[in-house]
Symmetry: C2
């Protein structure tokens, strides 16, 4: 029997369509055959990107935009927004728009074209998360910015136009819809129950363990009850924390461990294309205390088609309970 | 300069990223190379689908589930919902779900595997829309159903798992998120301006003509101001009408003409994969008078990736003004 499950935060529904009878092994590993084209993110090609805004470099070469780096952050050459744009709210006939103010940066994960997030050593993942947090905080300081979106696209199906491992950060001068919905849901739950809805979920998932994937000193990972995607996995700090920006060094070590473990597991298993998305409180939103920041890993094994786009209801052929069993660390 | 445009109905934003400098001819026609596998929708294979629930048949053979049909409606063999399911709202721990009640039907557009929506003759498209409306009304009669979603996936990238031309209808026992958002936006606009927001848009688009694609006696088509997808096109009845179910025979003729013209144009142009989605008022919702039913054609030429999934903000590299110029009939 299929179940139409409701997301406890946003109130949105998903259909867990067990009738389709898909099992985890139906999602077999798909090798992406790629021609090795010229890659602007590879070591030695530093001049092909805009000048770096940050980098992790060996002491032997601290000179920007030259080889010798381990992580490198550059503005996106094909940015949809511009940090120098003057923010204005304008009207055209009955419609309104904002000028395209915002930053778009690329975090090049490693000089090694063929490395992956799951194959780096732990220290490297820590360094990566640290530099991403630095950029997050830096971009948050712009008074005209309301949200900073950190994400990673892995695999062309998930929207990665370059194979070389990288993350992206895009800041926006408005609070996006998804964040408005999550904040509204979290606030409504808090007002009714006097408790953070994510903290409530964490307690429930720890107790039932049926959707639990991993847990360590600071973090927990589970497949959410209303998973939209097969093998959708969330990583949350166990203690209430509203923004990724307030993560301490010790917590970053802990996050690196759980994140790397899950991604390694996915890569070794069926290596799905995925989007990794950090959901954090909007910049400078005092109302956002109810929010609980987290990472969503969304494997892209199904196609979002007319029904999903028309209704917002996702059909997921793999129950999160089965996904968690497969992914459990 | 990019523009962060706001959808006047839902308040959602899109980034029209003109900096990316894409032009319509960058979206070249992609021929899908498909192996000709056994097709359960082809004439002669009627026994491979569940028994038909409706069909348009020549008088020479009215016998169900045999050849001699021109349009055929069958339950989806791999349905995510079940019309016989008893609707119940259930609790599991802190979460709630509904049993998977709902119908899922497939409308096989034609016996000809290689025909397309754009290549049928006009009478056939009229017959098709008529039979789809009949099924819509039929499924709407179920007292436990709150919404009936009609859609078509064209091309594997857009989620069509079978190449044989078909539409789908899925009914749900709840009003989906997208419809809740649209209804809320339409009601808010009506309360503030005393006018339907879609009627307002139609008047504005008729006047400016910069995004106009086609117009006839009953219908208008334009690329919406806040288009999420390149070449996104909406078709709306010019006079206010909240549900697809109340379309008259004369209006269906008119709809067939404008729809077939646009799809033919797309197919002859760059033949994109697309989702076609009918947005109609929820079943039996007396509040839905503010709503204005319409068709959304969403070409799938871009990939919805981490930024879109994380924020709900779509990045569209083709301004609707340029798209309309290309599509104009």
């Amino acid at each position: 029997m299929s179940e139409i499950r409701q997301d406890i935060v946003t109130g949105k529904h998903v259909i867990i369509a067990v009738e389709r009878g898909k099992r985890p092994h139906d999602f077999s590993r798909k090798e992406e055959v790629k021609e090795r084209e010229f890659c602007p993110f590879c070591e030695g090609n530093e001049k092909e990107t805009p000048p770096e805004v940050a980098a992790l470099r060996d002491k032997s070469n601290l000179k920007a935009d030259t080889p010798g780096w381990r992580i490198r952050v550059v503005p996106n050459k094909f940015a949809a927004v511009n940090p120098e744009e003057k923010l204005k709210l304008l009207q055209t006939g009955i419609y309104t728009y904002l000028t395209g103010k915002g930053a778009a940066e690329v975090v090049i994960e490693s000089p090694d074209h063929h490395s992956t997030l799951g194959s780096h050593n732990l220290q490297h993942v820590e360094d990566l998360l640290q530099i991403i947090q630095d950029r997050f905080l830096n971009l948050s300081r712009d008074k005209e910015i309301r949200y900073v979106q950190i994400f990673k696209n892995y695999g062309s199906v998930a929207g990665a136009s370059l194979e070389h491992p990288h993350w992206q950060i895009i800041s926006t001068p408005l609070i996006p819809t998804v964040q408005i919905e999550e904040l509204k849901g979290a606030a409504a739950y808090f007002n009714e129950h006097g408790r953070c809805v994510f903290c409530t979920m964490i307690a429930a998932e720890k107790e039932s363990r049926t959707r639990l994937v991993a847990e360590n000193d600071f973090f927990i990972a589970f497949c959410p009850y209303a998973s939209r995607y097969p093998f959708e996995t969330w990583i949350l700090p166990e203690d209430h924390q509203s923004t990724f920006g307030s993560l301490t060094e010790g917590e970053i070590t802990s996050l690196a461990r759980i994140l790397q473990g899950i991604i390694h597991q996915l890569e070794e298993g069926f290596n799905p294309p995925y989007n990794l998305i950090i959901h954090s409180a909007p910049v400078g939103d005092a109302q956002a205390n109810h929010f609980h920041w987290h990472i969503e890993i969304l494997p892209r094994l199904t196609i979002t088609a007319g029904f999903e786009l028309g209704t917002g209801i996702f059909i997921n052929p793999i129950a999160p309970e089965i996904a968690a069993e497969t992914l459990k660390l």
